[in-house]
């Protein structure tokens, strides 16, 4: 069924693509962001004197990165799809953490039991509750707070900030002002030793959860029609509508899913820190913003790479030069934006 070449003269000229043999550096260019994570890990290997500390730091950096990714992925899609900046995202993290912790404390007989199955069951219940609650809050948040301010970034920043403050105060009202200590379930306490390095079990679990989630999201975005609609919507929402898809409904769905993921991230973060406060979400948000910006607004892949980079950087620098730990992520953001002003995986926007 290939087009007959005889047809060509009256048709538009057939462009048979001729392919130049690009030098290696040119061919590597699109892959550079992907290589950033392994390069950073290798650089860490040479910078950190003991292999065992390097391994420990790498695992905790990856774990931190995965948790940030879980939180940031929804936010980057919300921005990409509807150009909405949601500062209130941090509130979903805190709510997720408090709901999840409450459930875990209620299930203390299950979390205290020395059975991996019972422990994971308790965590699953906590995660499910947290995601349902934060997804529902996200739905209400979109309706009441975000919908009236579509199209105006300034109003979005002001109004979602307000929403964040209200949500934080709600946590004080519901759970009181003290921080709550939540210990990890019995079988996830402690560490395993591998090649002389101590690797915390919980961090390994966090890495696995993040990785599975990333692969699942990627599969949905690449392989399903819903994913096509979301990706096309990031590019040109008006045309998606003109093709017959209700972009508002898709957007609300993404907003709810993003809020629920922030809730999941909140539970993961709670068990990582083993203590929760109402403003914990807000504190993580700085890292989340850095990740969303360096990844390329609207790009899930960029967000993943950015999150791992930030997580690793934070852990390596905190070990090598503790005083620089706070500065390092901002410096990383500046460096990456100088290199790629649209973020590592830039998303093409039809309109400015």
């Amino acid at each position: 069924m290939s087009p007959a070449p005889q047809q060509a003269p009256q048709n538009a000229p057939q462009h048979a693509p001729t392919i130049t043999h690009l030098p290696l550096s040119e061919r590597l260019k699109p892959w550079l962001p992907v290589l950033l994570v392994p390069v950073l890990i290798v650089a860490g290997y040479f910078a950190i004197p003991q292999t065992s500390s390097w391994l420990t730091l790498t695992v905790s950096g990856l774990a931190m990165g995965m948790m940030i990714f879980v939180i940031a992925s929804g936010m980057t899609l919300v921005f990409g799809l509807m150009d909405v900046i949601n500062f209130g995202h941090g509130a979903f993290i805190s709510f997720g953490a408090f709901v999840g912790t409450t459930v875990l404390l209620m299930l203390s007989s299950m979390t205290g039991a020395p059975s991996l199955f019972l422990n994971l069951l308790a965590i699953s219940a906590a995660v499910l509750a947290a995601m349902v609650v934060t997804g529902a809050i996200g739905w209400g948040f979109e309706r009441a707070i975000v919908r009236p301010v579509y199209g105006s970034h300034l109003k979005q920043i002001l109004v979602t900030m307000g929403g964040l403050i209200v949500a934080e105060q709600m946590i004080y009202v519901l759970w009181g002002g003290q921080e709550i200590v939540i210990l990890r379930p019995e079988t996830l306490k402690g560490a395993i030793t591998f090649a002389g390095a101590t690797l915390e079990k919980y961090r390994l679990l966090a890495v696995a959860v993040g990785l599975v989630l990333f692969l699942a999201m990627r599969a949905v975005l690449r392989r399903t029609k819903l994913g096509l609609i979301v990706r096309a919507g990031v590019d040109n929402p008006e045309m998606v509508q003109a093709l017959g898809y209700n972009i508002t409904r898709v957007f609300v769905g993404v907003f709810i899913a993003g809020s629920a993921l922030a809730g999941l991230g909140g539970v993961m973060w709670a068990l990582y820190q083993e203590v929760i406060t109402a403003h914990m979400g807000n504190e993580i948000m700085i890292l989340v913003f850095v990740v969303v910006i360096i990844g390329g607004l609207g790009s899930v892949e960029g967000c993943f790479i950015g999150a791992l980079t930030v997580g690793l950087m934070q852990n390596y620098i905190a070990f090598l030069e503790p005083k620089l730990a706070l500065v390092s992520n901002i410096a990383l953001m500046v460096a990456i934006l100088m290199w790629r002003p649209m973020g590592m995986v830039p998303v093409v926007k039809a309109k400015g």
């Binding site: 048709n11 538009a12 462009h15 029609k225 096509l228 096309a232 093709l243 017959g244 093409v348």
Partner: protein, 240 residues
């Protein structure tokens, strides 16, 4: 025409505080090509966008195949059976050619025989099926935009200036494809500045100026009357 596929009655559209369309009355006959002509800024694209629901009319009625569609959302209007090729082509640059086509098929995937027709008309789309659409040339993007509208049968096709900025050889390819579409009995409303293309494809014509329809009739009447054309569009045809 007795049973038009699309009717506009007194349609007025504002953009911000500006009145853009001042009461459009237009009938698009079933199974033919209607050309919407006029100088730049006359309101042709605004009319197309208003029909598609991308701008909401302030007053007037739009009827597609007997059903009122004004006030519906663009996605509802598209599902009533309108295939839309916008002026800026509206290609999803991050998606592949195949994904662009897949998304346009509301029933799931485009039927194989329809895809064969599309590839026959636009072989380039088959060559670049798995390439990112953002890397296509301007002409190929326009082919993709038209292909997207025709992957399924529609009651009406709205095609906004398909020849814009394209080389004559590519315009000829597009013209052949559109003629083929017309031969299949499609109803088309098309904006076109390239008069020879308009003359080749159009059955009926409506000329706009300053947000109003100022003349309607058959394409043959218009193209045979140089004085009329000059009066309506400021267009001087070279005598061929």
């Amino acid at each position: 025409m007795s049973d038009p596929i699309l009717t506009l009655k007194g349609v007025k559209t504002d953009i911000a505080q500006y009145h853009i369309l001042h009461g459009i009355d237009l009938e698009v006959p079933r199974g033919g090509v209607t050309m919407l002509l006029g100088r730049n800024g006359a309101g042709k694209t605004s009319t197309m966008r208003t029909i598609m629901g991308l701008w909401t009319p302030r007053a007037g009625e739009i009827t597609l195949d007997g059903t009122r569609i004004d006030g519906l959302t663009p996605s509802q209007i598209a599902r009533k059976g309108i295939g839309f090729v916008p002026e800026d082509m509206g290609i999803f640059s991050d998606l592949t050619v195949e994904e662009n086509l897949h998304l346009a098929a509301l029933a799931g995937r485009p039927s194989p025989e329809r895809m064969d027709w599309v590839f026959g008309a636009f072989p380039a789309l088959k060559t670049f099926l798995h390439s990112t659409a953002g890397n296509l040339s301007g002409g190929q993007k326009q082919m993709l935009s038209i292909a997207r509208a025709v992957v399924e049968d529609r009651a009406l096709y709205l095609i906004d200036e398909p020849s814009k900025g394209l080389a004559p050889a590519i315009v000829a390819t597009l013209a052949r494809a559109l003629k083929d579409l017309k031969a299949r009995g499609a109803s088309i409303l098309m904006v076109e500045q390239n008069f020879s293309l308009a003359r080749a494809l159009g059955d009926t014509a409506a000329v706009m100026d300053d947000g109003k329809i100022i003349w309607t009739g058959t394409m043959a009447e218009l193209s045979s009357d140089a004085a009329l054309m000059e009066r309506l569009m400021g267009l001087k045809m070279e005598t061929t």
